[in-house]
């Protein structure tokens, strides 16, 4: 199976640029070990399954770049918790997937290793930051791909490429060994072809790890066993703030149809309100850059990673290393983050953004008194053309409107394909659950997929 997918990466996948690192020898050695395990009768559901890991997950002995030149030579001597969990399950590392540099971006155009193409239309972006992971799953060149989601980095590319992606509750999966972007928002999750695959992937990743102080010690639900049962009686909340002029009509229509489908399956649709939704993008673009500016200070050329070749003294080394090592979006966010934490601006920006964050979480807590899940779009539009928004960061940031509030609140959310918009580009339905309600989200997604076949659509040329 590993040979099969390595072959697909090289052939059908060649046009996508979905991977930063492929190491056939390492993958095949793992596959061989998996075969032995299967022969011993000790196989689990993921034993021998080749997995595409976003290049943000440190994997022992594998180049781990975070899509950045500054980590262009970094080979970690340790596994992230997520990699270790997949290793324990006997899974194979198929390769390290391309991504926006340090997970900063919504189009995968910010990778030092070049943009990823959307398999549905090579002129379109795959979304980001887990763009390589999403494209690989959509093109069936990888069966499954864990990702990370700080502001929508799993759900938005899942929506753009017509695959399924789940971001669990903050603290459900250990962040240990995941190159940090914004610590209070980063959370690992997974991309796969259907809800059943997500259930298997999340079961493997979730659980307590004492190496991450923000990881929560709480039993993990049996997501696979809970997939059945349908949505009868489930209250689906639709926020009245979702269907506005910000939402493209070609997205709104399939989303409404999907909600109708859920109602047809027995769910009860209720209107809810998230009055502070409009504050989430500005709050996020204060908090995330603030944390990032500090998290990325360690890339200084002193201990590992890229160091500028010529410099006169220490300050010059710092300046050149970071000027040459980071791309423009990372620099932009580092500058914003440094600014909002500076003396005299901290209260006006960072403290205020934290207050907004609490308001947004409060909105969801109130909404979940009236519903079990919230449904809506994962992104306000379908995938746009490569290069079309690359020069306008604010436009790009506004595309995170539907995903960001979930990160600010620390809630779980998933996106599943539910149709196509303009130019045959996929649309994703987002389901948001209450804290630790991943099982219910997956159950609703599964019920939807039992009744529809959007998830089974494969882009032309990648069948």
């Amino acid at each position: 199976m590993t040979r099969h997918f390595l072959g697909r990466v090289a052939s059908a996948g060649a046009a996508l640029n979905a991977f930063i690192t492929i190491d056939e020898d390492k993958s095949l050695a793992q596959a061989k070990a998996a075969d032995e395990r299967i022969a011993r009768g000790q196989a689990g559901p993921l034993t021998g399954i080749p997995i595409a890991h976003k290049d943000l997950f440190c994997a022992k002995g594998w180049l781990t770049t975070a899509g950045s030149k500054i980590l262009g030579n970094f080979i970690p001597p340790y596994d992230s918790h997520v990699i270790a969990q997949f290793d324990r399950a006997g899974a194979v590392i198929l390769g390290k997937a391309n991504m926006d540099e340090f997970a900063m971006g919504s189009s995968n155009e910010n990778s030092h290793f070049g943009p990823v193409k959307n398999p549905w239309d090579l002129a379109a972006v795959p979304g980001g930051s887990s763009g390589g992971s999403a494209a690989a799953v959509a093109a069936r060149i990888a069966p499954a791909a864990p990702g990370t989601d700080t502001g929508g980095s799993i759900r938005q590319p899942a929506s753009f490429t017509g695959v399924c992606g789940i971001r669990p509750t903050y603290g459900r999966v250990s962040r240990y060994g995941i190159v940090a972007f914004a610590s209070s928002l980063d959370q690992a999750g997974a991309l796969g072809k259907d809800a059943h695959d997500l259930a298997i992937l999340l079961s493997t990743m979730a659980g307590y790890d004492e190496r991450d102080s923000t990881c929560i010690d709480r039993p993990v639900d049996d997501y696979v066993a809970n997939l059945g049962g349908g949505v009868k009686g489930l209250r689906i909340g639709v926020p009245r703030e979702y269907f506005t002029k910000d939402l493209a009509p070609d997205v709104a229509a399939p989303i409404r149809a999907a909600i109708d489908e859920l109602a047809k399956l027995g769910a009860k649709v209720v209107e809810v309100s998230l009055p502070n939704q409009h504050l989430s993008v500005p709050a996020y673009y204060v908090i995330a850059p603030a944390e990032a500016s500090s998290n990325l200070a360690r890339y200084d050329g002193v201990r590992y990673g890229y160091r500028a070749p010529d410099y006169t003294d220490l300050r010059d080394m710092y300046r050149k290393t970071r000027a040459q090592g980071f791309g423009p979006e990372v620099k932009r966010r580092t500058l914003i983050g440094t600014y909002v934490l500076s003396h005299g601006y901290y209260d006006a920006y960072y403290v205020k953004a934290q207050k907004i964050r609490r308001l947004i979480a409060g909105d969801f807590i109130a909404a979940f008194r009236d519903c079990d899940l919230i449904a809506g779009p994962a992104a306000p539009s379908v995938a746009y053309d490569l290069g079309s928004k690359a020069t306008d960061p604010v436009q790009m940031y506004l595309g995170d409107l539907y995903t960001i509030p979930i990160n600010l609140a620390g809630l779980p959310g998933l996106s599943i394909p539910c149709g196509f918009g303009a130019r045959g580009r996929p649309v994703g339905l987002q389901l948001v659950g209450n804290y630790f309600d991943e099982a219910r989200m997956l159950r609703a997604a599964h019920a939807f997929q039992q009744a529809t076949d959007w998830h089974a659509k494969i882009p032309k040329g990648f069948e």
């Binding site: 975070a66 340790y78 240990y176 209070s184 923000t214 002193v302 500076s342 003396h343």
Partner: protein
């Protein structure tokens, strides 16, 4: 016109945990460079801090010992700045809400007691070390110390002289060792002070302060403050102004030098560390720590004073837990008065302890042996002078006091007959002195006792010899 000196100290006490504050790497001193730095200490991508419970427990102990408030909820912040020996580009520290606030440290200067108020004590991690000695033609970085747990103890500006600052630093040093949270090894940097110094005319508002960094001995602390006070006073008296700045003490030249001015001060961009949850300390945890605390020096001092020891002696006896225990055991095992034992412990025994690297922790003789020596003075077997000789012989490992006294023939002549004849001989040889004494010159009496001691090679019991002399001279 006089000047008032105002001093506050910031002290970094390295905590005695076996592992670092946010990683499992060892904290042992002196290992080869970078052998005690884990992926977390090296700030490898994706690594995360996990708070060491032992460091918190030590902070609680400190809070209890100084009578401070232990915060039920405190937070860790990131202090952001770039430096090669700061691997993450930020130091994890406590800024807004420290684990301990308030509290008091009692000091004694010139026999007078004074309380120094504490502002706060907070937990933080140490940085690594830059090694600028030639390392393949470059500077080297050793991250063994990176992540070592520190308790930063900040005093109020309550000290008014270098002597008070030293007394405070010594009292704090003694306290952190007493409660077992810091080994106090100043040479290895386990206990180091920054001094904030300013001067003002009495009654005026506080003057502009300078901070002198990294003073790692009491002597340097004293010298640096004395120099800095002189410098500031001379500057102002010459019409100049003190500029707020950070200064370094150069022990070779005995002077402080500017390091950076307020204008160059970093904007540390403090913000709560999102990798760590707020630190919650329950009342039960505090109670559990309280249960394991040794009796504190202040309490012990009060007990000693209640037993009649003067405050100064009591203060000296409680300089360290080992010394206090040595005194308690010796005094209990000896029939000599506690004040005499205290004088000896604070005098001769302390001198011996100070000469040895392990101090009172491992004296070369037991308290029980020392108690017997005290008995021999008390029962008149040997003179105080001879006892010093015996004590030093004990320190040199020559054995038990009685054996040393016999071997060296130090027993006093207390035999009345022998003393009578010695006195007679002295009186016969010194008629002038005897006459002077009878004529009312008291000094002559001491000279006569001296002659008796000389005639007996110091073995006469001086008190007994005096009695016989007095009797004979009155006739």
């Amino acid at each position: 016109m006089t000047w008032e000196v105002v001093i506050g100290l910031e002290t970094h006490a390295q905590l005695t945990t076996g592992t670092k504050i946010f990683s499992g790497a060892a904290t042992r001193f002196g290992a080869s460079p970078n052998t005690q730095a884990s992926a977390v200490d090296l700030a490898m991508p994706g690594t995360l801090p996990v708070l060491n419970k032992g460091a918190v427990e030590r902070a609680i102990r400190f809070g209890l010992a100084v009578g401070g408030r232990i915060a039920p909820r405190s937070t860790f912040e990131r202090k952001n700045y770039f430096y090669p020996d700061l691997p993450k580009g930020y130091q994890i520290s406590q800024y807004v809400e420290p684990v301990v606030s308030g509290g008091i440290v009692a000091i004694v200067v010139d026999g007078k007691e004074k309380s120094v108020r504490l502002t706060r004590a907070h937990l933080e991690e140490d940085a690594g070390k830059s090694l600028h000695e030639d390392f393949h033609g470059m500077s080297g970085i050793d991250l063994n110390r990176a992540g070592t747990p520190l308790l930063e103890i900040v005093s109020e500006p309550d000290m008014r002289s270098a002597a008070e600052a030293v007394a405070y630093a010594r009292a704090l040093h003694s306290l952190v060792r007493w409660i077992g949270i810091c080994d106090g090894n100043m040479q290895e940097g386990s206990f180091r002070c920054d001094a904030n110094v300013s001067v003002r005319r009495p009654g005026e508002a506080l003057g502009t302060r300078c901070e002198i960094k990294n003073l790692n001995s009491f002597r340097f602390l004293e010298k640096a403050i004395e120099y800095e006070v002189r410098r500031q006073v001379e500057l102002i008296e010459d019409g100049g102004k003190v500029v707020q700045e950070t200064r370094l003490f150069d022990p070779d030249r005995g002077e402080t030098r500017p390091m950076r001015s307020k204008e160059d001060a970093h904007d540390y961009r403090y913000f709560p560390d999102p990798d760590l949850l707020p630190l919650e300390i329950t009342a039960q945890w505090v109670d559990a720590v309280k249960g394991g605390m040794p009796e504190l020096p202040a309490k012990l001092r009060a007990n000693l004073e209640a037993k009649g020891l003067p405050p100064y002696e009591a203060h000296l006896l409680t300089e360290s837990r080992e010394k206090a225990e040595f005194f308690a055991q010796s005094a209990a095992a000896s029939s000599a008065p506690p004040l005499t034992v205290a004088h000896w412990v604070n005098g001769e025994v302390s001198a011996i302890a100070n000469d040895s690297p392990s101090g009172f922790e491992r004296l070369p003789f037991a308290a029980s042996a020392f108690a017997r020596l005290q008995d021999r003075i008390h029962d008149g077997t040997i003179s105080a002078k001879a006892a010093k000789e015996v004590l030093h012989a004990m320190a040199a490992g020559e054995g038990e006091p009685d054996a040393i006294i016999d071997k060296r023939g130090l027993r006093q002549i207390s035999d009345a007959g022998a003393l009578e004849s010695a006195v007679d001989a002295v009186l016969a040889a010194n008629p002038k002195l005897a006459e002077d004494y009878r004529a009312g010159k008291d000094k002559a009496f001491n000279a006569l006792v001296g002659q008796v001691m000389k005639a007996t090679q110091g073995k006469a019991n001086p008190a007994q010899a005096g009695q016989i002399l007095r009797r004979k001279l009155q006739r």
